[in-house]
Assembly symmetry: C2
Homo-oligomer: 243 residues x 2
């Protein structure tokens, strides 16, 4: 069994032009939302609730949840933390539910709601994710969260890494999938240098989060796949998960 087609949506603003029926949507926001989601669920967070707005995030305050909010790369004042993966360690999140709003990633997740399934991708869970996707018969749509509706390099290069692992001779790729794979093949020998020219990396240099970037570019640190169930991201469980 293998997916029928692989397409890449290069910006959340292009989602309205993509078919979501019979499709697994993989949401990608490498720096840093989807990397932190994978890390947090691997470290025992019970669930992560992605919300679009700060107000909605705050409305969960009385539930005893951890509240995480990032805007323009920084933790929003008054929140427990933002989207740095180092805030999603076992010590901080095990057994907890995290309510998270970010500039790009959480919004992209919300807009994929019509898909058969919405899962979360990052370099941290790439092998577990791609092995599972290979067992699924649906179409696959790789959704790059980008930056404020703009294309970005890091999400597209990761989408290309997935295309490279998943594609077969019979599978239909759209032009964006071909392009993403080309970019990945060029970048893979030295991801940090290639992505160093990305606008987001430059933005993040000002924020002194080089450690976060290096962390998010490591393959296979975790073996979980976050999946959207209702409004919560939880760990996808067996029998679906073949590792």
């Amino acid at each position: 069994m293998s997916p029928k087609s692989i397409r890449v949506c290069l910006s959340p603003a292009l989602l309205p032009f993509h078919e979501l029926d019979d499709t697994i949507a993989v949401v990608i926001d490498i720096f840093r939302a989807t990397s932190s989601m994978c890390y947090g669920l691997a470290n025992g967070a019970q669930a992560i609730i992605p919300v679009e707005e700060l107000d909605e995030c705050l409305s969960y305050q009385s539930n005893g949840h951890l509240l995480a909010a990032e805007r323009d790369g920084q933790v929003v004042t008054g929140f427990d933390f933002g989207n740095s993966p180092f805030s999603y360690t076992k010590e901080k999140v095990a057994g907890k539910t995290v309510v998270l709003t970010t500039t790009n990633g959480t919004r992209a997740i919300k807009r994929c709601a019509g898909a058969s399934a919405v899962v979360i991708g990052s370099f941290l869970n790439i092998s577990t994710l791609s092995n599972w996707l290979k067992t699924q018969p649906q179409h696959i749509l790789l959704v790059c969260a980008g930056w404020k509706n703009h294309f970005n390099l890091e999400d597209t290069v990761f989408a290309g890494a997935l295309v490279h692992r998943l594609k077969t001779r019979d599978m239909e790729l759209d032009d964006a999938a071909y392009a993403a794979e080309s970019l990945y093949l060029e970048a893979r020998s030295d991801l940090p240098t290639y992505l160093g020219k990305a606008s987001h990396s430059k933005r993040m240099q000002h924020l002194h989060i080089a450690q976060d970037i290096a962390f998010c570019l490591q393959e296979d640190q975790v073996s979980v796949i976050p999946i959207l169930k209702g409004r919560e991201l939880v760990r996808l469980t067996l029998p679906h998960l073949l590792q």
Copy 2:
């Protein structure tokens, strides 16, 4: 003098997120609208009027203009011709005004109306265009017409060719400009093969227009730059045009 920044808009649907102030917009629809516009004006067409809808195109019938309409890669029944460059020869268009509506290209032009200038790019006029752009101080936005709001390879690879010719050390590139240049550098040794995998090429194979594709991939066949003046595309004239 050189442009301050080069950005690439990968789909007309992303134009609302791009700044057009103090910006020259270069509209790109390689297969085939912008190639044919360059060729038609080089062959003496007086003007080409891009319109969005078939009805609007038909409304020019009484003016004695040539009416050209393409939808889904084919000439629309009842129109003089579509967007094949071979319909824009000297014999057919010299001294005439052509009113043209296409699936992607003419719509992209309309949406750039807020820019300082809107010009037309194709491989056919790449050197003339890039030499002129180098003399301009404005920002440059390369607008890929794509296919029905989707990313496509051929327009992006051409955008990358322009980035490669125009970029300087001091100039700011967005992530899409870096990606487009990467794709161009990979594709340039054999454009027809690289673009053969593009969805549009596959669509066009069904239409038996391999000759059109080969024609549109030739560099420097003409030395005109179509520029939007009011509602008409006309030849950019000296002293602006340094060849």
